[in-house]
């Protein structure tokens, strides 16, 4: 393994870091449309697409820096659901008629596109068109303009307009203030299936693996920031006439938080490298390893950050709590540590 970055990667990382630090500084009441437009203007919505599709050809390592930045600044703009998850599926079926305009619309920010999968119901083919009936719950950015919808067993992928007849969208916000929605489809007519069978399943699996590695990277960004702000706090908060960070009981726990973060971040980088160059079983295995470490570290760091901030940590206004909510949300999206270990075992 080689963790060194190429000059191009360092340049990209530094410009992404600068972008996030300068753009996403305001803490509350951020306008989501403005945040999204900032990502578009920075060219990040074009990131995963090759030149030939009007993109910038970023690879998973580049996307990792973006995900780090999103976590570090608690950005709510839907980069992962729209650009990573939906974007990778669009990229993989760019040859299907009608997809290229969607890529352009996503890239230039005119339309948001999200990925959803049916938890119940089905996509039924009737001659040249298909009928969708069923439900998709907790869809990140589910009120997007366009949905890429997968059948429950991933053997069919269709494109549905968010406003199509028969689509009922019930939006809500997540614990960490992200847009999501429950979707009900009743006899929605769709024109074309963009992928089916094994091909569709492969496509979805590939995008989900990348998504998982990048969710880990987002959590690593959030953990890094949480650790930094907790260290700042214990250095300045005084009790008994001295900074509480001078107490060994806290110091040793902060060391454990840092070790947990280092492991999570390092294994996330390994998973990212795997997504770039390894075969599927290796990717599954190394993503599962990263997933286990991230979920473990995220809980430790979130809970300790609240504890070390004392009563302040319990307040809505404290930044430690906001990071804790992001970390908990990401952990739940990823799945439990036990499920990660099961995946790791199954991939052996």
């Amino acid at each position: 393994m080689d963790f060194s970055l190429s000059p191009d990667q360092i340049l990209f990382r530094d410009s992404v870091d600068r972008f996030f630090n300068e753009t996403f500084t305001k803490e509350d009441g951020r306008d989501k449309a403005v945040d999204w437009q900032a990502l578009v203007d920075m060219g990040l919505t074009a990131a995963p697409f090759p030149d030939s599709m009007g993109g910038t050809g970023a690879n998973t390592i580049h996307l990792m820096f973006v995900a780090n930045g999103i976590g570090r600044t608690l950005t709510t703009a839907p980069f992962l659901p729209c650009v990573v998850m939906a974007g990778h599926i669009l990229r993989d079926c760019a040859n299907v008629p009608g997809i290229q305009p969607l890529i352009e619309a996503l890239t230039n920010g005119t339309r948001k596109i999200a990925f959803a999968e049916l938890s119940s119901g089905s996509i039924t083919q009737t001659g040249t068109s298909s009928i969708v009936s069923g439900e998709a719950r907790l869809v990140l950015e589910g009120s997007a303009d366009v949905l890429i919808l997968a059948s429950a067993n991933h053997d069919k992928l269709v494109i549905i307009e968010g406003k199509a007849k028969g689509v009922t969208c019930s939006p809500f916000t997540t614990l960490d203030k992200r847009e999501a929605a429950d979707l009900i489809f009743s006899n929605v007519a769709v024109n074309s299936i963009i992928a089916e069978g094994h091909q569709a399943q492969q496509m979805i699996a590939r995008a989900q693996r990348t998504m998982k590695a990048l969710l880990c990277a987002e959590a690593c960004g959030a953990m890094q920031a949480t650790l930094e702000l907790t260290l700042d706090y214990v250095r300045t908060r005084k009790q008994f006439g001295r900074p509480i960070g001078s107490f060994q009981a806290l110091q040793h726990r902060l060391v454990d938080m840092r070790i947990a973060y280092d492991l999570a971040d390092t294994q996330t980088r390994v998973a990212i490298m795997a997504v770039e160059e390894a075969d599927s079983p290796t990717i599954v295995r190394l993503c599962a390893a990263a997933h286990a470490q991230v979920v473990k570290a995220a809980r430790l760091i979130a809970e300790e950050a609240i504890q070390m901030h004392g009563g302040m940590g319990m307040t809505e206004e404290c930044r430690a709590g906001k990071f804790a909510k992001r970390l908990i949300t990401l952990s739940i999206l990823l799945g439990s540590e036990d499920s990660a270990i099961e995946n790791f075992l199954l991939s052996a």
């Binding site: 970055l5 250095r235 060391v255 492991l263 286990a292 270990i341």
Partner: protein, 383 residues
């Protein structure tokens, strides 16, 4: 960032492996496989065999018989030796005294001591800890008083590995009781055959007798045996802290023991709960391996720093977890005393409990994990 080793490194690993398969004596292989205690005799033999190929002191500079390899290649080498079934080639002479002599010794001292360490002919004991000076090492009280061309040394060292079979000991001694604790200490080389030295072995939990107490009673040490300047010994000892950044985590041993665990598991029926625990540990092992490789490759030019203390904390936890899993796997078979196990003992399981007990030392020696955490809090976290 790249997941796989490049072809050069892969080739290098297989060169090391081929060589070990051809040159490792069967009895040493067997002892290493079962986790038996190695004595000085076995260590010396293996060191001499490695030396015949120029590999006994890979970390030393080339002019002293080292290899000139990068830290990454050295790491791959140490790891491959163990994974190929060889015992560790660690001795205080190679790992500690060598680098100090090379950095601070006179030409005469280097000529006199380095070649025999490299060949495995002389064994060195490390005389640092004392009964009253463990974590607070700078409070040590063993005194050395100048008397003409000699120092007269009086005191009591403890936890001295292989003192009973070492020809020499390098020791920290107090030469200036008036100065601040750290600035009155000197670094002295002491011949273990000197009159006035008494060695008392200490039996450890696992039945081992590697450790000793060393009593020094009016021991005469020639002033030529002083390293560097008088009263500067603490600085020389600290030099070692920045010398090795990854070895202290013991990831090679963890891997070797983990493969042992997997091998034993493959011969038994294993509960899903145990399998789950082992998988969790394997994830931590992958993480430890990646942390080490990240340290070695991310900024290859950077100097080793206090981050090594984090590697030590995490690396030793992992090692102890694996050792515990091995004992758990052995079940009641592990209750046999390793040295008196009865006629029907399963040889593969004989040493597992002893190895577990022995592994408890790794979070104590080389600076306890609590001291390491203090270092990290101060030097890495800025607290």
């Amino acid at each position: 960032m790249r997941l796989t080793l490049n072809q050069d490194e892969l080739d290098f690993r297989s060169i090391v492996d081929d060589w070990v398969q051809k040159n490792l004596p069967d009895d040493l292989r067997q002892m290493a496989r079962l986790g038996e205690h190695l004595t000085r005799k076995e260590f010396s033999r293996w060191c001499a065999i490695l030396d015949s190929n120029g590999w006994s002191v890979p970390a030393w500079p080339k002019e002293y018989g080292g290899t000139g390899w990068s830290p990454l290649r050295r790491h791959l080498f140490e790891e491959q030796l163990l994974l190929s079934g060889a015992p560790r080639n660690t001795s205080a002479g190679i790992a500690m005294l060598g680098p100090i002599l090379i950095a601070f010794g006179t030409q005469d001292q280097k000529n006199k001591y380095l070649p025999s360490i490299r060949r495995g002919e002389t064994f060195w004991a490390q005389g640092f800890s004392e009964p009253g000076s463990g974590s607070d090492l700078a409070s040590l009280r063993t005194s050395a008083i100048r008397d003409g061309s000699h120092f007269i040394v009086n005191g009591h060292k403890i936890w001295t590995s292989y003192a009973q079979s070492s020809e020499m000991m390098f020791a920290l001694v107090r030469t200036n009781p008036e100065a601040k604790p750290q600035s009155g200490i000197s670094f002295l080389l002491i011949d273990m055959a000197s009159p006035g030295i008494k060695v008392r072995p200490i039996r450890t939990l696992d039945g081992g007798t590697d450790l000793n107490e060393v009593f020094l009673d009016d021991v005469r040490v020639p002033v030529d045996n002083l390293i560097g300047e008088i009263d500067r010994g603490w600085d020389y000892a600290k030099h070692l802290l920045g010398f090795e950044r990854t070895g202290i985590a013991g990831v090679a041993v963890s891997k070797q023991q983990f493969f042992r665990l997997k091998r034993l598991m493959s011969e038994r029926s294993i509960s899903p709960a145990f399998r789950h625990k082992v998988a969790r540990t394997e994830i931590d092992l992958l993480g430890m391996d990646a942390l080490i490789l990240r340290t070695l490759t991310e900024n290859p030019a950077s100097r080793p720093g206090p981050e090594a203390s984090m590697l030590k904390i995490q690396g030793t936890r992992l090692r102890q977890t694996i050792q515990h899993l091995l004992m758990e796997l052995a079940g009641p078979e592990g209750l046999r005393n390793a040295e008196d196990p009865g006629d029907y003992v399963e040889r593969d399981l004989q040493w597992l409990a002893a190895n577990y007990l022995d592994s408890r030392k790794v979070s104590i020696y080389g600076g306890t994990n609590e001291i390491q955490a203090n270092v990290v809090a101060k030097a890495v976290l800025g607290l």
